[in-house]
Amino acid sequence: MRLAVASGKGGTGKTTVAVNLALALRQKNLTLLDCDVEEPNAHLFLKPVFYFTKEVGIPVPRIDFARCTFCGRCSEVCAFNALAVLKDQVLVFEELCHGCGSCAYFCPERAISEHERPIGILERGNAGNIKFGHGRLNPGEAMSPPLINEVKKMCRPGLITIIDAPPGTSCPVVSAVSDCDYCILVTEPTSFGLHDLDLVSRMVKKMGVQAGVVINRSDLGDDRVEDYCRDKGLPVLQKIPFDRELAEYQARGEPIVKHRPSWHDYFEKMFYRIAEKCEGVSR
């Protein structure tokens, strides 16, 4: 079963939910994948021991000018405007290239070969019996989906994988949430929280992924998020009230289930609720 934890904006407690859920279920031979590759932070709480590191890149074109006739075909087929064919040269804008391979495929002169442009690092490790994987995108890099997809290769069929998705509603989130059986949406009971929840829940619905909501700092706002969930038929899976002591544990990089055994049960129960909803669609 693949379970994504997403949120319409950063700072809602998405990683808190992913990490504590993983710890509550740690007897289950599960995998936690931090796909927030721009700002991975789940490892700060789980403190995994890494055993595998690899550089991830995307294949970008290199032009052989001895063969190129400057016909312009490559620039025509590139959907991302990464190639400009001029009178006597072809410019490759590598940072725009998605590595789709179309240009090399369509070049009539076979003048295009590919080389890897590094975009980030993939790391795998173990945190107790939790299998852990994450990606670190290179600073300033915009092309995160290929790295996210690489991290997701650690998903193992039949076993539970929890995916900490990047915040927001753009391509990287789609990469992280696609193929998941369920998506936990973490939000706050404020008007910003509601706005972002609306965006992300519509996106997840469009992707055909079931979703439920966790309301964090549930006592510091109003009822509009809950009303919204009732309206849209989104189950509220959990309400986490604000707790200064827990916030302090968090700030020190300590997961809350370690300090509050009751939370262990809450997260476990939430998991069984989700598992019930996913029955029959598990992979």
């Binding site: 405007n81 990464a82 400009a84 001029l86 940072e95 300033g140 915009a142």
Partner: protein
């Protein structure tokens, strides 16, 4: 020499556009005779990214020798320079006014990018 002027419409009376890659039209003029050769629509104006280099390619295909615009980003500048197209900033109100100004010799060719790179519609940095 053919000169391209970034414009919002066609012909000598068209208002100019200060952007390069996202300029809706390029009016190609023969400055010696102050005549319009052609007005070309810029299909790249709405591209999510890479509009600058694609527009440079378009001008290169039309054998343009110089372009007059308001601003160019770093990628557009790189492509224009690679294509041997001289960049002038300082468009006036209309295409016609801009040609007059150009003929006075007061516009200076550019050496650096005038605006930082953008990433089109999507949020993020492409540098």
């Amino acid at each position: 020499m053919k000169i391209a002027i970034c414009a919002q419409g066609e012909g000598l009376n068209a208002k100019t556009d200060r952007r390069f890659g996202r300029s809706p039209y390029f009016v190609l003029v023969d400055p010696d005779h102050e005549t319009v050769l052609e007005s070309i629509r810029n299909e790249n104006a709405d591209a999510p990214g890479g509009a600058g280099p694609q527009s440079a390619q378009l001008l290169s295909e039309h054998d343009v020798g110089a372009v007059i615009t308001g601003n160019v980003g770093p990628k557009a500048k790189q492509a224009l320079q690679a294509a041997g197209i001289v960049i002038y900033t300082g468009v006036q109100d209309t295409v016609g006014d801009t040609i007059k100004e150009f003929m006075k010799g007061v516009l200076k060719p550019l050496s650096g990018a005038t605006v930082p790179g953008h990433s089109g519609i999507q949020k993020g940095q492409w540098r």
